[in-house]
């Protein structure tokens, strides 16, 4: 035990030496006591050391500190040996210790990387000096736990959600500031002592929440009508859970609530708007059908009987009268086309279930077949190919391609029309182009051509209802794509449109 390295040497070894030279029972007893003291100090599980306050040299360290330092620091400067610092620490040298008081503080040791609670005081050293004795307990884990607790408390205090903590009977123990402001209390103290059930408009609802919490699941989530202190109400989304003690027995509940009144009202508004929109859409579909049917019937009467009249009076009519009859017939025919186009336009988007794999090459072939007469009459050349198979509404794809190709043929200049249909694959879409060599479109009308009833040319030159491109846009938008045109007068037009698919999606997705 007499280990000179750890500095108690002076006292104990002198005592032993003296004990051996003067063999008295009292000296022997004193020797025993010193041995016990040494045994206790050396095996003490926390740091103890002694420093000369005048020189800052280490006089004694217990075994645990020596082991931590990896060697004896006796005679070294305490702040160097223990802390790795180059000057004395202010707290070791403060006046309280020098005046004989006991000084306690907490300190993070940079060399050992631990946090300690330190107690310093002056003691008498066997050689008559007054020396500084320090006792240090490692509180690193305790500090970390405190820090974590502090953080959790911060969350509780600053949470936007209102949180209440109640005992097993449902009596509120504590609440956070959000709770105080949401329910309109003065402070947290005002809320404590209230029953959780008093927070809600319908006590029965609150009681079923409590029952669920007390049950085996121990949690509940749902919406409750909450009642503020002033009697006003709000819709609260509440998530509550049972709190269990160390022994697993319930020690209370926590209820976290959010005011979702505004959200619920917005949702209800949205739903009402959607309902109204659906109704209006249905009405519109119904209207379009009725209008087209009921409008066509009188039209047929006008056309048929004008014609019949013309036949009956054959030979009795002069040229003017025949012209009038022609005008009447022409008007009726245009009206009929208008009605039919309007009907097709109103129908786009009404068949969600019709999305199938469509071979656009085959479809182009069909379109060309149905445009055969027009192609022949205008000596048009329509080319195209390499088109994909994609998921689409087939009828609407026919309408789309037919309208675009037909426009390409129709709006031709002096040269015979040339129309080319092509497609390239992009990362998430098929990009189609329909290119013609026709009269082109002035820049200011590039957007306008897609508006319904918007026509840029006289009916005499280019007959039509002004619905075709509007229908194309409706078809494309319904399929989640885009349509636009690049053109300049005299240089033809390129109609671009995209349809979802391409490299990212296979047709059967």
């Amino acid at each position: 035990m007499c280990n000179p390295a750890r500095g108690l040497t002076a006292g104990s070894c002198i005592a032993k030496a003296e004990g051996r030279s003067v063999e008295t029972p009292a000296a022997d007893e004193e020797g025993q006591r010193l041995k016990h003291v040494e045994a206790v100090l050396e095996s003490f599980p926390e740091i103890l050391y002694v420093v000369d306050p005048e020189t800052d040299r280490v006089l004694y360290v217990n075994r645990i500190l020596q082991d931590m330092l990896g060697g004896s620091p006796i005679g070294q400067l305490c702040y160097e040996a223990f802390q790795g610092l180059d000057a004395p620490c202010s707290f070791c040298t403060n006046d309280i210790i020098r005046a004989g008081g006991r000084y306690t503080w907490e300190h993070s040791n940079p060399k050992l990387g631990r946090t300690y609670r330190l107690v310093d005081q002056m003691i008498d050293w066997p050689d008559g000096r007054r020396v500084r004795f320090e006792y240090a307990s490692d509180i690193t884990e305790l500090k970390a736990a405190q820090e974590a607790l502090h953080l959790r408390n911060l969350v509780f205090l600053s949470s936007m959600a209102s949180i209440s903590i109640a005992d097993p009977r449902g009596i509120i123990h504590t609440v956070n500031p959000s709770f105080v402001s949401l329910w309109g209390f003065k402070d947290a103290a005002e809320a404590s002592g209230m029953s959780l059930t008093d927070l809600f408009l319908h006590p029965q609802q609150a009681r079923s929440m409590m029952e669920a919490l007390a049950g085996s699941r121990g949690s509940w989530e749902g919406e409750l009508t909450a009642r503020r202190l002033d009697g006003t109400t709000f819709i609260g989304h509440c998530a509550a859970s049972a709190l269990k003690g160390r022994d697993g027995e319930p020690i209370g509940y926590q209820v976290t609530s959010l005011d979702i009144t505004a959200r619920r009202h917005a949702e209800a508004d949205l739903e009402r708007t959607l309902d109204a929109l659906n109704r209006s859409n249905q009405d519109l579909q119904q209207f379009a059908y009725l209008a087209s049917h009921d409008l066509q019937e009188p039209l047929r009467m006008v056309a048929s009987y004008t014609q019949l009249l013309g036949e009956k009076l054959e030979g009795k009519l002069d040229q003017d009268c025949r012209k009038y009859i022609e005008f009447a017939m022409d008007g009726a025919e245009r009206m009929q086309r208008l009605i039919q186009d309007l009907l097709s336009f109103s129908r786009v988007g009404s068949h969600e279930e019709k999305m199938v794999d469509v071979d656009m090459n085959a479809l182009l072939g069909e379109v060309l077949n149905s445009l055969e007469v027009q192609i022949r009459e205008t000596s048009a050349t329509v080319t195209g190919g390499g088109l994909p198979v994609l998921k689409a509404d087939r009828t609407q794809m026919v309408q789309l391609l037919q309208n675009l190709v037909q426009n390409g043929i129709k709006f031709h200049g002096t040269a015979p029309p040339l129309v080319h249909v092509a497609c390239t694959e992009e990362s998430d879409a098929w990009h189609f182009t329909v290119t013609d060599n026709g009269i082109g479109i002035e820049e200011e009308y590039l957007e306008a051509v897609f508006q319904i009833f918007r026509r840029l040319n006289s009916r005499r030159e280019y007959p039509g209802t002004g619905i075709g491109l509007a229908l194309c846009r409706r078809v494309i938008e319904r399929h989640g794509g885009r349509i636009w045109t690049v053109s300049s007068p005299g240089h033809g037009s390129v109609f671009h449109f995209t349809l979802p698919g391409g490299a990212g999606l296979s047709p059967d997705q």
């Binding site: 049917h293 009921d294 019937e297 047929r300 009467m301 056309a303 048929s304 009987y305 019949l308």
Partner: protein
Amino acid sequence: MKEIGVVRPIEILLVEDNPGDVELARVALADSKVTNRLRVVEDGESALDYMHRRGRFSGAPRPDLVLLDLNLPKKDGREVLAELKSDPNLKRIPVVILTTSSAEEDILRTYNLHANCYITKPLDFKQFHKVIKSIENFWLSIVVLPAD
């Protein structure tokens, strides 16, 4: 049928509420090469009474061909068609739908109800006349129908 046609005129029932259309059909059928008698009822209920020879139609002859409009007062053409085509006695009689509607769902629905054919009334009279002629030609001259 052709043999019978010599003996008695072909009976055609036109179910149509528009007098203009009735007149057009009458004019178109007037110069028919087959002797025919056009009977007209103006709503679906009367059409069914006629077919079942009920009430004021108790003495009505059984039609050889029905020309049926779809949008009719009271019972509409779809209901009339459904009832005719589910009657074991009447379902043999050919029913030609003659309507203004060119709506896909009308076409599909009436064929599903076993309409014998669907024709959209053309806008001008010359076309209408042609249509009536071809109905007459096809159903009254070309097609062989059961004797009763």
